[in-house]
C-alpha cells in the first residue's frame, strides 16, 4: 500500500469510526469498517481506545453531567416564575442515547461491563434515574456569554470569559456596561447595567431591573421576556424592554411584532400587540413611553444586539470562534532572510517609546532603547513587510509596519488589536506621533490609539485619552463625551497624527491636543484641543489600538512609527535610517 493509499485509508477509517460513534453507520459502511479493522492492528487499537473514551465521555457528560457541575455552585434558588422545564422527550432522548451507547459497547466486545458493574439494583435504579434527571435540569445550560463592553459586574464579580455557559435560573447582575448573550433557543440579548436578569430557561429571560434588547432569529419565535408584571412574547422581531426601580415595564418594538400580556392570571385574556410600524411602544405606568436605546461604544447602531453571525457561532457550541493568541513580536515574528537588510528606522535615544515594528530589532547591536512587550491579537493583527513604507514628509515608517483588520461580525464587538505595556509608566506631559493608512475607510469606521492603565478584551478605553479616526473625521478625546474633531480622512492615504497629553496643576491629565498632518518643520497651533477637568488619572502604563465595531473584516489599517516623548521635537525628528547588523538573527519559524 502506498503512502497516499495509507493516508486515504486512515482518513476513511476515522470517518467511519466517527459514524460508528454517532450511530449513523449503515450496513455497507459497517462492513467497510470491519474490513479496515481486519487489515490493521493500529486501527483496532485506535478503535477500541476511541470507543471507550467516547463511552466514558457519554457517561460523564450525559449521565453524571460532571462538566456542568463546576458551574452550578453559584446557582440561585428557583423562584416562582414558571420556567420551561426540560421536556420529557429530551430526558428520554438522553437516557436512550446512553442506553444505545451501552448496547453498542456490548456489541463491540466486552465493554458492557462498564454498564453492568455500575448498574444499580432495581431500587437503586429508580433513585438514580430521579437524581440524574434532577442534575440535568439544575445544570441545564440556557445561554452563553458572547461579549461585553466595559462591564462592571455586581458584587465584585471578576470578569467572565467569553463563551462561558450560563445555567437555568442563574442571575446576571450588572452595575454598568453592556453584555451580550445568546440563549440556547437562538435568541440574542444585549443587557445594559445597572440591571438584573435571571435566565429562567433557554426560552425565557426574567428581567427584574434595567434594560435589554433582544433579537430573535427565525426558529426562535416565542422567546419571552418576563418582567415583574408583564410577559413579552416575541413573534419574530427585535425589541427592547426596560424595568424601572418600581418594577414597571416599558416595551419598544424595533422590527416585527411582540405580544404584551399581564402575568396576572385573571387578566391574561388582555393582551396587546405591538408592531414596529404602528403601535411600537408601551409603558406600564401609562406615561409617555421613552425610547429604549442600548448603544455600544463608538458605534452608530443605537440598538446593539448580538450579530446573527455571533448567534450562529454560539449555536455551534464553540464561542468565540477562535482563541485570541497574544504574541511578543520580538521573539515570535519571522523575518524573511532577504528582508533583514531593510533599513531600520531609529528614534532619538531620549524617547519614552519608539516602535517601528522592526521584528526583533532589539537583538541588533545597532538598536537604541529598550524592547517593548508588544502584544497582538494574532488573528487580526500582524507585522508585515511593505515595499513602499508609510511616509509623511521626513518621517519614514520603514519597511515593516503593523497591519490590523477590522472586526469580523462573528467575533466580540470590542476589537482591541494591539497593546504595549510601557517599560515605565507615563507620569508627565508627553507628546506622541504615528503614521497610518486606512484601506477600506467608510464613514462609520473607527480606530484609535488609546492610553490607559489596563487592558482586556472587553475594555473599550473610551474613558481615557484616544486619538484616531471616528465616523469620518480625525478625532481626539479625553473621554467618550469630551471629544474634538477635525478634517476628513481619505481612504488609503497616509496620514500623520501628532498629539500632546497635558496635565493640570494637580498633576492630573486633563487635556489632549492633536495635530493632523502637520508641517513637521513648524506644526503651529493644534487642530484639536479638548479639556476635561474631572479626569483623575496621573499616569498611563499601556498604549494600544482598537478597531471599531462597525469596521469590516476586510478593512486594513497600516500603522507605523509610534513615538512617545517628552518634547514635540523628539516625536517629529527624523533620524537616519540604519542597516541592521550583518549578524541580525533570522527566525526559525517558517
Amino acid at each position: 500500500m502506498t503512502e497516499s493509499n495509507n493516508l486515504n485509508s486512515r482518513t476513511r477509517f476515522l470517518a467511519l469510526l466517527d459514524q460508528r460513534l454517532s450511530d449513523s453507520l449503515d450496513e455497507a459502511e459497517g462492513k467497510e469498517l470491519d474490513q479496515l479493522l481486519n487489515s490493521s492492528a493500529e486501527y483496532r487499537e485506535l478503535y477500541v481506545q476511541h470507543i471507550w473514551t467516547d463511552s466514558l465521555l457519554n457517561w460523564e457528560l450525559t449521565v453524571s453531567n460532571t462538566i456542568s457541575s463546576e458551574y452550578t455552585e453559584n446557582l440561585h434558588s428557583v423562584e416562582t416564575i414558571p420556567a420551561i422545564t426540560l421536556s420529557s422527550a429530551v430526558k428520554i432522548n438522553r437516557f436512550t442515547r446512553f442506553m444505545q451507547i451501552c448496547l453498542l459497547l456490548v456489541l463491540l466486545v466486552a465493554p458492557a461491563i462498564y454498564w453492568i458493574t455500575n448498574y444499580p439494583t432495581d431500587n437503586e435504579k429508580a433513585s438514580e434515574i430521579f437524581v440524574s434527571t434532577e442534575a440535568v435540569e439544575s445544570s441545564e445550560v440556557v445561554a452563553v456569554l458572547l461579549d461585553s463592553e466595559d462591564v462592571v459586574w455586581s458584587d465584585g464579580q471578576a470578569s467572565i470569559e467569553y463563551g462561558t455557559s450560563f445555567h437555568r435560573n442563574e442571575t446576571l447582575k450588572l452595575e454598568s456596561g453592556l453584555i451580550r448573550i445568546a440563549f440556547d433557543c437562538g435568541a440574542g440579548v444585549v443587557l445594559e447595567g445597572p440591571a438584573e436578569l435571571k435566565l429562567c430557561s433557554a426560552w425565557q429571560a426574567c428581567l427584574h431591573r434595567g434594560k435589554l434588547a433582544a433579537v430573535v432569529p427565525e426558529g426562535a419565535e416565542g422567546f419571552t421576556v418576563l418582567t415583574p408584571q408583564k410577559k413579552i412574547v416575541d413573534l419574530g422581531t427585535k425589541f427592547g424592554a426596560a424595568v424601572d426601580d418600581s418594577g414597571q415595564a416599558n416595551v419598544q418594538v424595533y422590527e416585527g411584532e411582540v405580544k404584551v400580556e399581564s402575568r396576572d392570571e385573571i387578566a391574561t385574556s388582555k393582551s396587546l400587540l405591538l408592531t414596529a410600524k404602528s403601535h411600537s411602544r408601551y409603558s406600564e405606568n401609562n406615561s409617555q413611553a421613552s425610547e429604549i436605546k442600548l448603544q455600544g461604544v463608538d458605534s452608530d447602531d443605537q440598538i446593539s444586539v448580538p450579530s446573527f453571525e455571533q448567534l450562529a457561532v454560539a449555536r455551534s457550541g464553540v464561542y468565540p470562534p477562535s482563541k485570541k493568541s497574544l504574541r511578543h513580536q520580538d521573539f515570535d515574528y519571522p523575518v524573511p532572510a532577504t528582508e533583514t537588510q531593510a533599513p531600520m528606522e531609529t528614534f532619538p535615544s531620549s524617547v519614552i517609546l519608539g516602535e517601528d515594528f522592526y521584528p526583533r530589532s532589539h537583538l541588533s547591536r545597532t538598536f537604541v532603547g529598550k524592547p517593548n512587550a508588544l502584544n497582538l491579537d494574532s488573528a487580526f493583527a500582524r507585522v508585515v513587510y511593505l515595499s513602499e513604507p508609510l511616509q509623511w514628509q521626513e518621517l519614514n515608517g520603514g519597511h515593516f509596519a503593523l497591519e490590523m483588520n477590522g472586526r469580523d461580525p462573528a467575533y466580540p464587538f470590542i476589537a482591541n488589536r494591539m497593546h504595549i505595556k510601557l517599560d515605565s509608566p507615563i507620569n508627565e506631559e508627553v507628546y506622541f506621533s504615528f503614521l497610518g493608512r486606512y484601506q477600506g475607510l467608510d464613514e462609520n469606521d473607527f480606530f484609535s490609539l488609546w492610553f490607559d492603565n489596563n487592558y482586556g478584551e472587553g475594555t473599550s478605553h473610551s474613558m481615557s485619552p484616544n486619538a484616531g479616526i471616528r465616523f469620518g473625521e480625525y478625532f481626539a478625546r479625553m473621554t467618550v463625551n469630551e471629544a474634538g474633531y477635525f478634517s476628513v480622512p481619505a481612504d488609503d492615504v497616509v496620514f500623520c497624527l501628532v498629539g500632546h497629553l497635558r496635565k493640570n496643576q494637580q498633576e492630573k491629565f486633563h487635556a489632549i491636543d492633536l495635530w493632523v498632518n502637520p508641517q513637521l518643520a513648524s506644526p503651529g497651533e493644534p487642530d484639536i484641543h479638548v479639556e476635561f477637568n474631572h479626569m483623575h488619572k496621573q499616569a498611563f502604563s499601556f498604549v494600544g489600538i482598537r478597531m471599531g465595531k462597525d469596521t469590516e473584516s476586510e478593512d486594513r489599517l497600516l500603522f507605523d512609527r509610534l513615538a512617545i516623548a517628552r518634547s514635540l521635537q523628539e516625536v517629529l525628528t527624523s533620524t537616519d535610517n540604519i542597516l541592521p547588523d550583518s549578524q541580525f538573527p533570522t527566525s526559525n519559524i517558517p
Binding site: 476515522l14 470517518a15 469510526l17 466517527d18 454517532s22 459497517g30 462492513k31 470491519d34 479493522l37 481486519n38 492492528a41 483496532r44 487499537e45 477500541v48 476511541h50 471507550w52 473514551t53 467516547d54 466514558l56 465521555l57 457519554n58 457517561w59 460523564e60 457528560l61 450525559t62 453524571s64 453531567n65 460532571t66 462538566i67 456542568s68 432522548n93 438522553r94 442515547r97 456490548v106 456489541l107 463491540l108 466486545v109 466486552a110 465493554p111 458492557a112 461491563i113 462498564y114 453492568i116 458493574t117 448498574y119 439494583t121 445550560v141 452563553v144 463563551g163 462561558t164 455557559s165 450562529a312 457561532v313 455551534s316 457550541g317 464553540v318 464561542y319 468565540p320 470562534p321 482563541k323
Partner: protein
Amino acid sequence: MLWRKRKEFDASRTFAAWACKFAHLQTLSYLKTKGRKSCYSLNDEALEQMAELSVKEAEKIDRKGEDLQRCLKKLSPSQRELLRSRYQSNVTVNEIAETLGRTPHAISMSLYRLRSLLRECVERALQPEVLS
C-alpha cells in the same frame, strides 16, 4: 447470565476484569455464531485483539472516570463547549459543521483530537499508580 450474578460481586477492579473476560468470551461466541451471518465481518484475529484491549481498558475504568473529570477541566471553554454540544446536547457532527460553516470531516477530526487529548491526559494521570 452476568446480569443475574452481578450481586455476588462488588464493583471492584477485579470484578471488572473478571466480568470483562466473561463478556469477552460470550461476545466472541455470539459474534461467531450469529453476528457474522448478519452484518459483522471481523476476523478472529481482530476480534481477539479488540477483546483483549477492551479487557485492559475495563481494568482501569474505575480510575478513569475521576481522571477524566480532572482532564475535562483542563480543556479550554471552547473545547468543552464542543464536547458539550456533541455529548450533552446531542448535536450531530453534521449540525455542528453546518452551523460553523466547516466540513463534517473537520468537526470529526476536532472531536477525534479531543478524545485523543483526553485519553493521553487520563493515561498520564494513571501512570504513577501503574509504576508504584
